[in-house]
Amino acid sequence: MKRKLLRKELRLSRHPAALLMPWLSALCLVPNYPYPVMYFYLTLGVFFICMSGRENNDVGFTLTLPVTRRDLVAARFGFVMLLEGFQLLLACGFVALRALLFADRGSNAAGMDANLALIGEGFLFYAAFHLVFFPSYYRDVTKVGLSFVKSSVVLALLLVAEIVACYAVPFWRDTLDRPDPELFPAKLLFLGLCVLCYALATVAALRVSQRRFARLDLR
């Protein structure tokens, strides 16, 4: 049933803008740019999906199908994770392309370099988004904007912290914010930890969201 719901998400619930957002990984090619902003754009795409879902009565209509409320939430998580995975894959490609084309351009003055650690940060940003946005959204699916404002504030704070860390935190400055392939094993370890955080945060967000949605009255 989850697979059918995921198919429904891809065919009916998707929003055209949300499908374009992963391609903003190409921002990695822009010199001196706060690259994690591209992760924020993807969350904007998720907001569009949920907003258009509200206008199209996506949740109410889906609940008339032979599905459970738990599966409905899980399918939305699955859809968003697919988009995130696609964006990170593209980001890997653009990071590699940047290394090939602009190896001589020096370090990024606006935060993390386009490197492997940036991919790890993507998992951290998504983890924070899952933890803040979805439990709020599934408390009341009509208040999409409020949920997005909450998650955007958190992501904005994370972005500022990331830029500061690239200048002020020794591990970030001296180990992570270095062009590839310098200190690759350390960055790989960082990526692994970020993936672990992402997995734990997503499971926690999913459980809280399912619990809240189970109690929700649809109006």
Binding site: R7, R11, E55, N56, F61, L65, P66, V67, R215, L218
Partner: protein, 285 residues
Amino acid sequence: MNGPLTVEGLGKVYPGFSLGPLGFALEPGKITGFIGRNGAGKTTTLHAVVGFLRPDSGTVRFWGQALEGHEALLRQRVGFVSAGMRFYQRQSLKRITDTLRPFYTRWDEGAYRRCLRRFALDEGKTPEKLSNGMQLKYLLSLALSHGAELLLLDEPTSGLDPVSRAEVLETLLTLRDAGCTVLFSTHITSDLEKTADRILYLSRGELKADCTLDDFTDAWRLYHGTADAVAALPPELVHGRRRSREGLSALLRRADADALGLPCESAGLEDVMVHLEQEADEHEA
């Protein structure tokens, strides 16, 4: 207990409105009309039954099983259509159906195609290009195509032209004859007089009647007279009065009308409902 739908002690409290506790059971293979004025709680009841709302109290059972824990299985056997329900405004009907069809294990493509023809639906169109009535016909087509044994319909004929309404009613009667159970709410009482076997009458969140249509209307008589003649009736026997061509109409219990020897006429479903609501308004005032 194991009928298609059994509701016991169903209650939901909102600020300014309280539903229930309601209890009723649908008879298998019958059409039950759900009537009541706007705001009586019909949609709230239906939403609580299909699981859109979480009731504060009571139980809802389909064939003896609670929805919780059996949602997916039971929704295979239940169809729900609501007149105001919006859905995927910019997707073609074909795309929507192609996506939803795999969810149903008993999807009947032949029945779906027959509905499209009967309702003159063009699968290439998107809901935003259809009138409300045509959107409703599409939703009905979906509900009628997955082999639902129980249909819960919230104002399924509102917004339809008379010909389409007649087609929908005819379809419901055919489904009933095939053993399908139907509960539908409507303000168009003439639709119920043509189709309903039983009536649930909801007023201000309380279930006032749960009986056959004939029992519901046979229990009442309508007296038409001048204002003075109606005023002369024992007030405790009059259950609501309305203005009419002759002056006023008054609703009386059949036994009371017979005892008074008044020249009364049979009361229709709408007559009974509007007079009882008038009485309730007067009591509230």
